[in-house]
Subunit: 375 residues, 4 copies
């Protein structure tokens, strides 16, 4: 069960970093949903390495191949299978480290669990696995947009190391095109400059750095999520925390909210002149009691610095000898934040697609959408 | 599926805040595990309201009744059903608010989802639901201690509002008895004093306040957790974020780690003189690649201030009239942190019990424990 | 996971035959469904022992107590918990057999699995466990009738031992009231007479006998079921085969169909004068490719003779000594068929409720029902 | 969720009959299991069409391609992905029927569920989907044989239409090689002759015929299965009934047992001179109370005649016009029984693999196997 997630909209991923490729099976997608492969490809390209001086130089086109589930551009109701070949795998790059446990990688723990290690590059415990998530998430997103035209998920970088933006944008006004104007997917140009300078220095030192991402979800109707264990924020937390290197998840004004008084943090209800029910503030990030209230859902996710650094480190070999080593080769990111943006968007879309379908179970889509007669 | 959680060790809770009582069904518990009801009761008492001037004055004995699954003090392999009666429910206290949507409560969203509201007190969207989690978690804990004698989960308060402890204790040296020496379950006496003073002031103003809890898990063998979607930190995040009012989850040095360089954050492996493999530091909080490495697992969880405050607030009635109201009665906590400590411990125990059994699936308990021949 | 079943409409049962009682948690039931406890009680009474000379003399009123999930007669969307107390448990009746493995009971296999045996009466491996299924199934049925007014499930006895009815009624014309006119729930009066005579003889010899039940499900819209592993007939087979003593499951004309030619067995489509699409025959039992076609679903289920007989049998004691024994006491049925009728109806209702909600996931109820605006 | 099955050993299949190919993802397989692709291929060949005059003339090599999860012949613990290309798909063969609902096929019901039909050949509602099950089942079988060397699953044909074998062999003495000596996989040579003659006549008439298969599972330890809903026979029933055209499932002496007296049907326990505990008879088919007792598990499965016949039939077009049609082309089997044999074996292996791992959850493999230290 380690490679499946979701209840009604469910994906299963497969493939290793230096094997034939990575794939995803999407089970439960609504039928008759038009799928635009260019849009899947676009998100894959945003995640792709090799696109700038500050990302890994691994060259992968990440072209998605559809193995099943779509005919004449429409989903059939049967599982959608997508495959992305590995074309620039270099297992030899790992020959110098394959006899030792790389610190803060999954080498040691994978062996403790499975008593066998893939030949190179972390196998499945590699960030390359996320390419399958992005493909799956792009299908989830297209399904949601088909039934909820206003649905939109946009993530962006709020912090690199200790360099943070001045003010997070949580009103849903940012588009992905806006975000992509910055090489770092940070919406503040001057902050981007400082971050870039910082990352270049770090890279020159063979070091790496962490940071934070904010993600806004628009166009979500009220009523999605479950009140007890499968609260919307709980499932979002799980999905986001399952991204490699993710270290914290905070819903709404999470961290600040925990420092506030109730009188400062409550979101008063009001009716707009258009008759919709909204909140005067949105400290809760669009979710009350685990269920969406119809406003913008936003959250923050923090990432640790990548574990691969090009500085000497001590560790143990497989035969438990202490050793000092410095990686000779291998293509790694000094900072994963910009590439993590589409991964965060994908995981958020997957959770929303699942809870949209789960909510159908209780109420059907009639009060949620008017776009499609028989969806 | 909203009221079940876990895969191999699975609980289902039921009951409303002002109904007959709350219950939990525990399915998948190992057989022949000795269950000490006094230990379940102890954790329930730690969660219980009415025990000090700064908690809700609702008086509940929270005596646990066993309906099935245990005979002569041993689990039978069949589902363990535990029930806790509501003895001090006061639905009338809610008569003044039952026609309106209380701000930042689940009143509005529950109605959007289910199109019906329970008569009083939030029904199932009440913190009283957590009494069932604590009972279930206490069984999970006893099962784990039976097969892993060194297993221990201890949570404590690190912050109330903006008043934080000087240094978190993450080496596993704190016991629950230590923690309980503080009325606020904060291990620093002088910080406790400041926090208490702060809470009393807030309470006098009819206000409420949030805060943070740290939780340490000891005695966990390496190999628990799954490498992709069901990473140990992802399942912990989901479990903890499903606690009412929880707003963020951070594994290990999470928030700080995201501000560090890789050279500062990596945990080098070493072998101790006793031959065990450990980390020179534990920034990762005991988990690498989603799988436990054998060291202490620790995390932080942040809680928002309780939504019920005794100050005038504006909101909408069910017929969408704007209204200003101040709750007249009802028994609420100005700060949930001390009572949340055993809830956090329960959710953490449930996740660990589930992943312990899931790991059995792959490897059996032979290399994990020597305490029991046929477990 | 042994005590839960269903995906979107999910029940979990608990309790032992000679413990406090039996219970069921129903999670996923639609909200705002009116629940009539008299109807639940009616099905429980149909299953109840002690109602005639040919059933077990155990006297249980089987009064259902609602612990949660229903208020003012309506479901709240939260889990419905129902409890039925054991009032006539006689664990002492089992003292003479508790040191041995009763042949064809679960004594031996339960011990092999769980390494512990409940003190008496099979614990959870007792047909008494089915009382909880009947309660859960009665809620499923009421939910389905609320959204699909024509929905109806009626089972009846077609065979006792080798005495079979002349012709099965598979056109949905039988009601439960019709069925209950026979003490054996067999719709043919003269066949009932022969069966009764046969059972009385068998009972006098201390023996037991098996038989067969037919079940018809009416008012099911087309489109329910899944095309691959969760075919409607596959989920029905699992549910029915999980009833104690059930030995075979056959959908539609199953056994006969396997002896036919394709030209004899295909069901031609036609349009009725009312415009509905129907089949000219219904050999398939209402399901094609795992999905309901809108006609009557019917199946057969066969039951072995009860394992408890009052004749000398050889077996092994727990210390593996061969022994010949004859049960002294204990209250058992010489033939379970009439009491199995409501159990079969319950399991069928549970499967249909689950697949109804699962189908919602894909399409919503709008084209299925016009009874309720927001279901 | 329609395309996944299993709890701890879980497969997901994908692909359409006339698309790129069929695939299976196997999640949960033990790590370090040696996988012999020739053995997978052997089972695929046994299922393959085009091998004799009485099977479909579709020519598919069904060569299995491994996309992930296996390195150097050993499972890695990550999902095993297998793909089988369609090389002889002839969608044009279906052009004459694509505007109508073929009787007793899933055309009508699939459209009722998904409101879209794949261009040809039933899409996923085709028996070709089972090629993925056979591949998955072959991996399950190899995993089980690795940890339980005596494990073996052998199915064979007991009946074609009304021509049945004289005596079923349920003592586990048949091997697959024995079975394959008959073109029809029926162990009695003279019965095979009669069956063959019958099938040829039927084929000449453009008709089809049903039949029955028996399946024996050897080498299963006691203790597998769950006592309530996930009884071993219930999960076997579901798995087998999910095979296209399967119409009934009967465990042990199922149908006969339902006609017997308890005194005829009970299986007395005894101890062999070797000290093992066995039954004097095995009417129950190796399962008591849902849990394996250590003896041979056997069951029967009945299949209807294939729905495609080359005789005129009446049906409706998509625009609901009545029509008489005779299929012009398309390659179909007059009798699926011999090709269903490896499919039945695959589904049985999948269920046993899942319950083996589920039983691990409770007890670990230590008392089940001595072959591998860390499995």
């Amino acid at each position: 069960m380690s490679s499946s997630t979701g209840h009604s909209f469910r994906i299963t991923t497969f493939g290793e970093s230096h094997g034939k490729g990575l794939g995803v099976i999407i089970d439960g997608c609504l039928s008759r949903v038009p799928i635009d492969f260019a849009k899947i490809q676009h998100q894959l390209h945003r995640r792709r390495p090799g696109t700038s001086s500050i990302t890994s130089q691994r060259q992968e086109k990440d072209e998605v191949i559809c193995l099943s589930g779509i005919e004449n551009g429409l989903t059939l109701g049967s599982p959608v299978a997508l495959h992305i070949l590995n074309t620039d795998a270099k297992p030899k790059d790992y020959s110098s480290t394959k006899h030792l446990y790389r610190p803060s990688h999954a080498d040691y723990t994978w062996q403790q669990k499975f008593h066998i290690l893939p030949a190179s590059g972390g196998g499945r415990a590699s960030a390359r696995e996320t390419v399958a998530r992005v493909a799956g998430g792009a299908v989830a997103e297209q399904m949601l947009k088909h039934v909820l035209p206003a649905f939109e998920v946009v993530a962006y970088v709020t912090r690199v190391g200790k360099i943070a933006i001045k003010k997070a944008i949580i009103d849903g006004s940012l588009s992905r095109a806006d975000v992509d104007q910055s090489l770092l997917r940070c919406p503040e140009p001057t902050t981007t400059e400082s971050m870039l300078k910082h990352i270049k220095e770090i890279k020159n030192n063979g070091d790496s750095v962490g940071g934070e991402i904010c993600c806004c979800i628009k166009g979500v109707p009220s009523g999605l999520g479950e009140p007890i264990f499968d609260k919307l924020e709980a499932d979002l937390a799980k999905a986001i925390m399952s991204i490699p290197a993710c270290r914290y998840f905070s819903i709404g004004d999470g961290i600040e909210a925990s420092q506030r008084l109730g009188s400062e943090n409550n979101d008063a209800l009001m009716q707009t002149t258009q008759g919709t029910i909204e909140r005067q503030s949105n400290h809760s990030g669009g979710i009350e009691g685990g269920i969406s209230h119809g406003g913008i859902i936003y959250f923050y996710a923090g990432f640790k610095p990548p574990s691969t650094i090009f500085q000497p480190q001590t560790t143990l070999t497989h035969s438990l000898k202490p050793i000092s080593y410095t990686p000779q080769a291998g293509r790694h990111d000094p900072c994963v934040l910009p590439r993590a943006v589409p991964i965060v968007e994908a995981m958020a879309s997957l959770v929303m697609a699942d809870h949209f379908l789960r909510h159908h179970t209780q109420h059907g889509p009639s009060h949620l959408s008017t776009t499609s007669e028989d969806v």
